[in-house]
């Protein structure tokens, strides 16, 4: 356990040594247009340009339908942008990369594998060796997320929060540099959610990963982030990026402080000041002629 923590702390230090301020993920004029079944086009994202620094915790907040999940999937290489480009560590990203791991809204554990085998799935799929090293690492990670006694349990035996912890451990098994999280705690109850927020801050500080965290919960974004990218709908675009200058380590007591409240209000005002509010759904649907 102590050895595990030490090992992870080394990694965090290494991440800081790599620079800490150089951009890890860069988006240049990224757009995404979907074609609906009735042959119309739907602009999910209008040009977004954004640079995410190595080691930072960046949240993307916005209302549903603002394209934040699409943007995250583009960053992960799972979907291709309609135009624009994504650079990952100065390399053009053309598909899923071993350097990027994803955490989904649902835990997406495979019910026929026990927890440790679920955590090992990326290592197995990517054929990472030596295997023993990854088995040990999986045990360390389970300890990190508080599931050291559940390696042999099956997903259905775990609560929603525990399953999501396991999925975070799975995302950390490879030596990825970025952790992209798509509303990972949205399905959890309020208490479990707060607990998971603290857990995530601890894991982030220990592992030194760059985290991109999509949420529609403003307080969660303020509590966790170094910076918050605020997106608005109609069509989905980046409204502003806010730096959260609250000292770390942060705790839940921060939630009651006035400067926390001010920060939350600031983000909320930005979200409510979106230009096409109300007309959003109509404005987003355009005929294919107007696009081409």
């Amino acid at each position: 356990m102590a050895a595990a923590a030490l090992h992870l702390a080394d990694r965090a230090q290494a991440a800081m040594d790599r620079g800490g301020t150089t951009p890890l993920i860069e988006l240049h004029g990224v757009t995404k247009t979907y074609r609906t079944l009735d042959k119309r086009s739907y602009i999910a994202i209008s040009p977004v340009t954004l640079a995410i620094k190595e080691g930072e915790f960046l949240s993307i907040v916005g209302p549903s339908g603002c394209g934040k999940t699409s943007l995250l999937n583009i960053m992960s290489g799972l979907i291709q942008p309609t135009s624009g480009e994504i650079r990952f560590h100065d390399q053009l990203l053309s598909g899923p990369s071993a350097e990027i791991s994803l955490v989904f809204q649902r835990p997406v554990l495979l019910p026929w594998r026990n927890i440790i085998d679920n955590v090992l799935l990326p290592a197995q799929v990517m054929k990472l060796r030596p295997w023993d090293f990854y088995v040990n690492k999986a045990r360390e990670l389970l300890a990190l997320v508080g599931l050291q006694d559940f390696g042999n349990a099956y997903p259905r035996e775990l609560s929603g929060g525990m399953q999501q912890r396991a999925s975070i451990a799975r995302a950390l098994i490879t030596d990825s540099r970025a952790l992209l999280m798509d509303e990972p705690f949205a399905a959890l109850d309020a208490m479990t959610r707060e607990e998971m927020n603290l857990e995530l801050m601890r894991i982030w500080s220990l592992t030194g990963r760059t985290v991109v965290f999509v949420t529609h919960n403003i307080a969660e974004a303020v509590l966790l982030s170094d910076r918050i990218a605020v997106m608005t709908a109609g069509p989905g675009t980046l409204r502003d990026i806010i730096t959260v200058d609250l000292a770390r380590p942060r705790s839940l007591s921060l939630l009651g402080e006035p400067r926390f409240g001010t920060m939350v209000d600031h983000v909320r005002t930005l979200l409510e000041s979106q230009p096409n509010r109300g007309a959003g759904d109509i404005a987003r649907v355009v005929t294919s002629e107007t696009i081409e």
């Binding site: 992960s76 799972l78 899923p96 989904f104 997406v108 495979l110 019910p111 026929w112 799929v125 099956y154």
Partner: protein
Amino acid sequence: MKARMFAMLYPISTFAIILLAWEGIVDVLALPVFYIPAPTQIALALYRGFDVYMSHLWTTMYCTFVAFAIALVLGVAFGALVSESRFAERTLLPVMVALQSMPRIALAPLILVWFGFGPTSKIVLGALTAFFPLFLNMAHGLRTADPDQIALMRSIRGNRVQIFWMIKLPTALPFLFAGMQIGVILAMLAVIVGEFLGANRGMGFLINTESNQMDTAGVFAGIFILSAVGVLCHNGVQYLRDRLLFWSASHEITGSTL
């Protein structure tokens, strides 16, 4: 274990009451034995002809299992092909669906002409009948794979083969087992029909002969044995399923008729 034994008491007592009523009605109405025998007469027929029944049962079960095994291999292979290849889906699936709605038992006389009166014709008929529930359940099961699990596999750079073995196949297994439970019974049914139509061995042949000799008690004894074996096969698959697919709740059965 004790609770399970206790739960068994309910169907057993229902069964016992039916048998008692049957025995009583046959006795009171004095129905002739060739018309409907009493349970005791059936039991006697079963006891006296036990060795004969077992030897014919062996033939029937041999044909059933060979037919089922062939249907299983073909059903899994074609199910996988249709779900993985767009081309196979377009060319094969409509033909399969058309064949599926054809009453395959009606082919029995033709198959007897082609494959003779020996076990081969029964195996062909059984395999043909059991194939469809296996094929359709396999194809359907592979398609029900969770899109999020596939997205996860793609995000960790999983290739198509890995997605098939690690996600789609485990997802399809409960469906395949549902198909197996129907398939094994259908295979047995088809083999028996084949034996009715033309054979010199097997339970179908035996029951047919007994019927022609007005040995109704013997016919009933044969039916009783076949029912017992049918239940055994069905439960055997169920047992395997519960052992192997512990993670999955029981699935709805996507069925197929004769």
